[in-house]
């Protein structure tokens, strides 16, 4: 196991370098931060001076390696726009996203697993059709659309829930306050996540129900409930681990649109604004974080799989 871990970590390094290199390339192709600074009152000389200051006139590879070497010293850089350390900006924006996405993902599974199992074991029943229809709706409705509908109903019409932000302006926050603010964005995110998860669980269970060992288990006379619980569900949940692994990267990046609509001060919001500002250091910081999370997520999935499924051996 240790050797496997070591191997994965060693392989991850060139992968990360590749990812960040590509990110830097795309980023610099998309536009320079200087274009955000230009305006009628800014002189060309000032722009050029700024360019030299930021090292932007250097070849792209030199810029990249500068960034990389600084990174290895633990310096994530400073935002071109706000002059704040990138690390600080990230660590400030990360928790709200984690909270929102974390709760949404957990809720999505709490809903999806029982519904998916029920749907599969009662295939073609009314309950099954309802569940499948709802899950289609969940995945198909665009999140901003659903957000706007919710805001219209619950904020504008009923006045029950706040329309945005993480806490009421002026107050310090507090548990219930944040909770109230969380309800609508969470509903939107959960709807879409649960929608696809229900489909995954349902098809996984359906596949397992065809397996021969279920027939053996039934032939042993242990009772249908136990057959489903012990033999079907356990095996059906294994592929769900892969789904979880796929959805982990969403933890940081999946809420971009929702965070915009609800002004939720999370990483998604930070990413959007830094891209619009061409704020290179921040963009790279977020990209790197995303890459690391994805790789970690994959690694975790693989290890979890090997732990839970004895037929799999890590090599």
């Amino acid at each position: 196991m240790m050797r496997y871990l070591l191997k994965r970590i060693l392989i991850a390094i060139p992968v990360l370098i590749g990812i960040t290199l590509l990110d830097y390339l795309i980023m610099s192709l998309a536009g320079s931060p200087l274009s955000m600074m230009q305006g009628p009152r800014v002189s060309q000389a000032a722009v050029e001076a700024r360019a030299v200051e930021l090292g932007l006139q250097q070849p792209f590879l030199v810029q990249y390696f500068t960034w990389l070497s600084q990174l290895l010293h633990g310096n994530w850089g400073y935002s071109i726009k706000t002059y704040r350390p990138v690390w600080e900006m990230i660590t400030q924006n990360l928790p709200p996203t984690l909270l929102l996405m974390g709760v949404s993902m957990v809720l999505a599974f709490v809903i999806a697993i029982p519904v998916g199992i029920y749907s599969a074991t009662h295939q073609y029943s009314k309950g099954d059709y309802t569940a499948v229809t709802l899950s289609f709706l969940g995945t198909s409705i665009p999140s901003f659309f659903l957000s706007l509908i919710l805001v219209y109903v619950f904020t504008v019409r009923l006045g029950w829930l706040p329309s945005g932000g993480m806490s009421t302006l002026g107050t310090g926050g507090g548990f219930w306050d944040v909770l109230l603010h969380m309800i609508q964005p969470t509903i939107v995110l959960t709807a879409s996540l649960a929608g696809s998860n229900i489909r995954y669980v349902r098809s996984s269970v359906l596949e397992i129900l065809e397996k021969d060992y279920l027939r053996t288990a039934t032939a042993k006379g242990i009772g249908r409930r136990r057959v489903i619980r012990r033999h079907a569900v356990r095996n059906a949940l294994l592929p769900i681990i892969t789904v979880i692994g796929m959805e982990i990267p969403m933890l940081i990046g999946g809420a971009v649109v929702v965070e915009q609509v609800f002004s939720w001060p999370g990483l998604g919001l930070l990413t959007m604004t830094s891209i619009m500002n061409r704020d290179y250091p921040v963009i790279m910081g977020v990209s790197l974080l995303a890459a690391v999370i994805v790789l970690l997520g994959n690694l975790l999935t693989d290890i979890l799989y090997a732990v839970v499924d004895p037929t799999i051996q890590l090599k």
Binding site: T216, A217, A219, R230
Partner: protein, 335 residues
Amino acid sequence: MQHLLSVENISVAFDGGTGESVPVDDVSFHVDAGETLCIVGESGCGKSVTVLSVMGLLGKGGHVTAGRALFEGRDLLAMTDAELDNVRGNRLTMIFQDALSSLNPVLTIGSQVTESILAHMPVSRAEAEIRAEKLLTRVGLPDAQRVMRKYPHTLSGGMRQRVMIALALCCSPRLLIADEPTTALDVTIQAQIMRLLKELQQEYHMALVLITHDMGLVAEMADRVLVMYAGQVVEEADVHTLFRSPAHPYTRALLQSVPSIHDTQDRRLASIRGTVPELYQSIEGCRFFNRCEMARPECAQQPQTLEPAPGGSSARCWVVTQVPEMILEAAPHAE
């Protein structure tokens, strides 16, 4: 004397008619305590579907449309799931062909065996584990304690089949149904498994229903034989009669197409022309008509029933049962 298992006029149908599923038409047979009945036939004849329906294990879309299956006097098909679960795995058990796919890959052997024991016997978990270990030893698995902790995919095919047998035996069943248990195994391993089954039969005074397509295995194991073709029973006989004087043309053709290591060089295997008709449920008369050497026009017109034939068996063929002297003439071919 009541039969241990008495299957009466069972018919099985499948909705939607998926390709693999075979309807079964008016099948009857019985098994007595301690005896071995072999159900033999080629793929698609309905032998597996018949026994699966008796055990209540038909998959999606399959249901019994007629008949009863009396086990120890009670109709299995009329029982609720709970009542059936009392019988299954307990007094009536089944083992399947592919032991690898028939065992749960993520549970240890030990837990799968103890699960069976705990479901039917009022013992503690510790006691169940002891019994499980004894069972595994009894079926010939060396170092049973280690095997208990292993997973199915780490065992060989023969060992897995022994595990399945242990599962089936855990509550001393009266009847064991074995659906092609050795088809996937090497021939020396098959011999071991068959010998084990025979020993266990003696020890537990257990009846055995063995489903196979191997006529050699039938000759080795059976007391009585049921031959199935296209969803129907075409012949029923005790094993000596079947091999000495087979009645139904299909049985005869089948026996003549089986090679043996004792054959001389000039033997020519007989092959049956044609293939099993596709939608045989809709055939009015004899289902073997298009392939039978003795076919006559009348054969296609009336449904055939199982009647006693000369020699002691029952056959579903009016030519054989009603007019046996015609067999000796060469029959006109009819398509």
